[in-house]
């Protein structure tokens, strides 16, 4: 057969235990937090800060429409990438979170220093940054293997 076992995408783990989760104000405030150390994006889902390792994220996009900013995060899932074979997913029969979209207002609440959407702007910038570093390292490691 093929050397598919070796080619299989490793599922990197964000945190080995919940104690390692960062304790940042953004997390208490149910905002998005990008943990550069653990290369993980922490997304708020109805009270829960939910980590996603950067290797799960395919791409992100941001848009401003009227009074709101939107941040959309697309994740890798079977069928998401031409050229990436189904075998590269360790768990192709699972249900995948494919995409999440967040919305924040561009208008400042009186007394606040910045508009709620500044959290999405920061998240967009930091996710791009962490993703770039991660991809560079992945490419370097691949080069060493070949």
């Amino acid at each position: 057969g093929k050397k598919s076992d070796q080619k299989m995408r490793k599922s990197t783990v964000s945190y080995r235990s919940a104690n390692l989760l960062p304790r940042e104000p953004e997390i208490s405030e149910l905002k998005i937090f990008v943990d550069r150390k653990y290369e993980t994006v922490i997304l708020p889902v109805y009270g829960m800060p939910v980590p996603y390792h950067i290797s799960m994220i395919k791409n992100i996009s941001q848009s401003v429409e009227g009074d709101y900013t939107y941040l959309r995060i697309n994740f890798f899932h079977p069928g998401s990438n031409i050229g990436r074979t189904e075998g590269s997913f360790s768990n192709p029969e699972a249900i995948f979170v494919k995409e999440v979209t967040y919305r924040s207002a561009n208008t400042k609440v009186p007394g606040e220093l910045s508009a709620p959407s500044s959290n999405l702007n920061t998240a967009f910038r930091l996710i791009k940054e962490v993703q770039k570093k991660f991809k560079m390292r992945e490419a370097e490691e691949k080069e060493k293997e070949d």
Partner: protein, 176 residues
């Protein structure tokens, strides 16, 4: 006869409401649990006999109390300190004869797992541990496409970051 410890009050805790943690006062008594929203004065109460499951869990930036009722509703109260776990555990044991177990959530950071429905709650489990829970009353719409399901959520300006939409990839085997 119950002694005076059969009432617990927390003056500065929160409730998860529409994607934000709202401050208020929580009272736990023999009759049940009531939460008074400190801004609106609105009271949410759950009678003791309606409670099915009581959990201690990680919530927002700290710890919280998770109450799941017989009719399938989910209540999460946050702003608790780790040190309050044993006192609450004793209270529920003595007053409701219920065990407050710790509910662990996945921190693996994976986007793949299994979706499970229990009452009015969707739980997305990664390696048999929930990664998040969605109370279905937050869902405003649901559409299905080829190998996918999209959930749209009610928007509330009281939450500074709103979850708008979540799209799931459903494998062909699940659709059969």
């Amino acid at each position: 006869m119950k002694d005076e410890t059969a009432v617990l009050e927390y003056g500065d805790v929160t409730i998860e409401a529409r994607g934000t943690m709202v401050g208020g006062r929580l009272k736990l008594s023999e009759q049940g649990i009531s939460f008074r929203n400190s801004k609106t004065g609105k009271v949410e109460s759950v009678s003791a006999s309606d409670i099915e499951v009581i959990n201690w869990q990680r919530l927002a930036g700290g710890y919280g109390l998770r109450i799941f009722t017989e009719n399938g509703s989910l209540y999460r109260f946050g702003g608790f300190k780790e040190s309050e776990q044993s006192k609450l555990e004793k209270f529920f044991k003595n007053t409701y004869s219920k065990t407050m177990s710790e509910k662990e959530f996945s921190v693996k950071g994976w986007n793949f797992g299994a979706a499970k429905f229990d009452g009015a709650v969707l739980s997305f489990d990664v390696s048999s541990m929930p990664a998040f829970e969605i109370p279905l009353n937050h869902v405003s719409g649901c559409t299905t496409g080829k190998n996918e399901v999209t959930l749209e959520f009610h928007q509330h300006d009281d939450a500074s970051v709103n979850l708008m939409e979540m799209r799931f990839h459903i494998p062909a085997s699940e659709l059969a």
